[in-house]
């Protein structure tokens, strides 16, 4: 359990307000009792805490028989230092909304006048196992009529409208039982001397003295939860947080918050570490300032706010991702609709055009079939002309070569037969035909040799095809 250390000489002191005037930080304080000894103790403690003993000044604003209001001027301290000191020394946080209350800064016109004492600050230390629950607990406290002033990861400071400001109660609220903290507070509070019970939703007015921590812990230990199980209680390590004064080693000195936590939980070496996870109070996520001047409250609040900010960011990212997915799905659906609409249009056009197109295609098929019948791969006249031109153009090389017959077929194949006086000429003829480009000789000339007495006759046969395939003709 993390608690604020209390200065030995500041028993019953409360910080009421904090302000800065001309570079000097001023604190309005209330205190039980009014003797000079207590004032001197607190003044010395505060000065020592801030290292500015000579410059500190205390102005008594209001003194009554049972309590006083004074102003402490700390010219050399910063706001964070003053806050840290107050938190450390008084175990309370500033009631922030009282900072601008002017009455606290002026001397009362009459020492015992009708000026109402400031509302007391009720400090309740609440140990949360989950920082996430702080928000709901604050809401719960407010619903219960308590004015939540500040929230620390392990400390909830509330101000209850108590009749008497002197007493304070520290309440240990443990994991899983946070919702019942008010009931427990009533159970562990000391009944009022006149026998009145605490009003609903308020901490009961204390009387006499507060119960010692051991007694509170004992009550909590004996308390059973709803299922009859024991409520776990961890001891308040207040003694370990106070260095010096309570241990009898001289005046108290401020202990850095991190050091105080380490004193309370020796196993803790680093926030969020494995050691921290094993602590009875889960401190995961707790970040404290390494120096007291940085102020515990700001660090804690920043930590808490950062956590909330991260949560909000995560939620926003999740919502954004969801929206993105929905956008993708929506776009996909719209795209699909547009495709279907386009397809419907096409189908309508197809239905409108198909009859006409079918008729046109039938005409085209007929035209193509007729053309197929009428067109030549190569017309016979062209074959004849090609042969004659080749013979004419190469009459010297082809001397002695004669064509005897020609067979032309519709597919374009032509077989020619002839004879020559030597066996070279048919090859020259074939070469010349190929070179002309109208016909091409398939394979090579087939030659037959015949001898008639002294004369040798050479007969040849060639198969010709069109050199180029006929191109398709359409209208």
């Amino acid at each position: 359990m993390i608690v604020f250390a209390r200065d030995a000489g500041a028993e019953g002191w409360r910080a009421l307000a904090l302000r800065e005037r001309r570079g000097q930080w001023q604190v309005a304080l209330s205190a039980t009792g009014s003797n000079a000894e207590e004032l001197a103790k607190f003044s010395a403690g505060a000065a020592a805490a801030l290292g500015s003993e000579a410059a500190s000044r205390v102005v008594l604003l209001l003194r009554r028989s049972d309590y006083s209001v004074l102003r402490l001027i700390l010219p050399q301290a910063t706001g964070d230092e003053v806050r840290a000191m107050l938190a450390y020394r008084l175990g309370s946080m500033l009631p922030l909304d009282l900072e601008d209350s002017a009455w606290m800064w002026e001397r009362a016109p009459e020492a015992d006048g009708p000026l109402a004492p400031p509302a007391p600050t009720q400090v309740v230390d609440v140990a949360w196992t989950s920082l996430k629950r702080v928000e709901s607990q604050v809401a719960f406290c407010r619903q219960a009529g308590l004015d939540v002033r500040a929230v620390l990861p392990t400390l909830l400071v509330v101000r209850a409208g108590l009749a008497q400001p002197e007493e304070e109660h520290r309440l240990l609220l443990l994991d899983g039982r946070n919702a019942e903290w008010l009931e427990w507070a009533q159970s562990v509070a000391v009944p009022a001397p006149d026998g009145q019970s605490a009003s609903p939703g308020m901490l009961p007015p204390p009387a006499g003295r507060a119960r010692p921590q051991s007694e509170v812990a004992k009550i909590l230990t004996e308390t059973r939860d709803e299922e009859g199980g024991p409520i776990e209680v961890w001891p308040v390590a207040e003694e370990r947080l106070v260095d010096g004064a309570r241990a009898g080693h001289g005046p108290a000195r401020p202990v850095p918050w991190s050091e105080a936590v380490r004193n309370a939980f020796p196993g803790l070496t680093q926030a969020g570490s494995e050691d921290a996870a094993d602590l009875p109070l889960a401190l995961a996520g707790w970040r404290w300032a390494e120096t007291p001047t940085a102020g515990m409250l700001p660090a804690a609040l920043v930590s808490n706010r950062q956590s909330e900010s991260r949560q909000r960011l995560l939620i926003q990212v999740a919502i954004l991702a969801l929206l993105l997915l929905l956008l993708v799905a929506g776009n996909g659906a719209v795209y699909r609709k547009s495709l279907e609409r386009q397809r419907d249009d096409s189908q309508t056009q197809i239905a409108r055009l198909s009859g006409r197109a079918k008729s046109v295609e039938a005409v085209r098929e007929r035209i193509e079939a007729i053309n197929e019948q009428l067109e030549y791969e190569i017309p016979p006249l062209e074959v004849l002309a090609a042969l004659q031109e080749t013979l004419r153009a190469n009459d010297r090389e082809l001397e002695g070569l004669f064509l005897d017959s020609l067979n032309w077929e519709e597919g374009g194949q032509t077989v020619i037969e002839g004879h020559s006086l030597n066996d070279i000429t048919p090859w020259r003829f074939a070469e010349a035909l190929n070179a002309k480009g109208t016909l091409r000789v398939v394979g090579s000339p087939r030659l037959q040799f015949r001898q008639y007495g002294d004369t040798r006759s050479i007969r040849f046969t060639m198969t010709l095809l069109p050199a180029k395939a006929r191109s398709q003709q359409t209208p």
Binding site: L339, Q342, S346, Q349, A357, S359, V363, A369, A385
Partner: protein, 176 residues
């Protein structure tokens, strides 16, 4: 149930992954599959529509071409009349070319899908120039003759030719 921060993060990550996976499996993937199918179907429809439009745009050209062919490849009242017309025309062409007619006879008739085909066998003799003129006249005849086979043979210094000449006749029942 108490869960620490790490467990909560893991739980949230698991839920997020499950939500994403569910979204993908139940929404995104079917949607994409449907979109793909719709895209293919639409593309096919659009292509078919464009093809039909292109075909119908050419309707006038096809009809004109067919009318032109029909005018030249017309069918006569009877096969006999068709054959007579062919034989007379070929004989006239041969005489005009100076080719001596050795044979000019009907060979066969065929009935094809869109038309009839009549074949005439022609045998003639002449020199190369006469035969060339005859072939040219047959190929460019108004009756759209077509030579299916041609055999040429030198005989006694004359060029003897044997041709199968066909003519198409469009039947009335296939009138578009």
């Amino acid at each position: 149930m108490n869960v620490n921060k790490r467990e909560r993060i893991l739980l949230l990550a698991t839920v997020a992954i499950a939500v994403l996976a569910g979204f993908q499996m139940l929404v995104l993937r079917p949607l994409m599959g449907d979109s793909k199918g719709a895209r293919v179907r639409t593309a096919l429809s659009v292509r078919e529509s464009a093809r039909l439009r292109a075909v119908t745009d050419q309707a006038a050209a096809y009809e004109k071409a067919f009318a032109d062919i029909r005018e030249r490849v017309t069918t006569s009242d009877s096969v006999q009349r068709e054959i007579i017309t062919m034989l007379l025309a070929i004989e006239s062409l041969a005489e005009d070319s100076g080719v001596e007619i050795l044979e000019n006879s009907h060979l066969k008739d065929e009935s094809l899908e869109y038309f009839d085909r009549h074949t005439v066998r022609f045998r003639g003799a002449g020199d190369t120039e006469q035969l060339t003129r005859f072939l040219h006249a047959v190929q460019n005849s108004e009756l759209l003759f077509k030579i299916r086979t041609m055999k040429l043979r030198m005989k006694n210094n004359r060029l003897e030719s044997e041709l199968e000449i066909v003519r198409l006749g469009i039947r009335d029942e296939v009138e578009p």
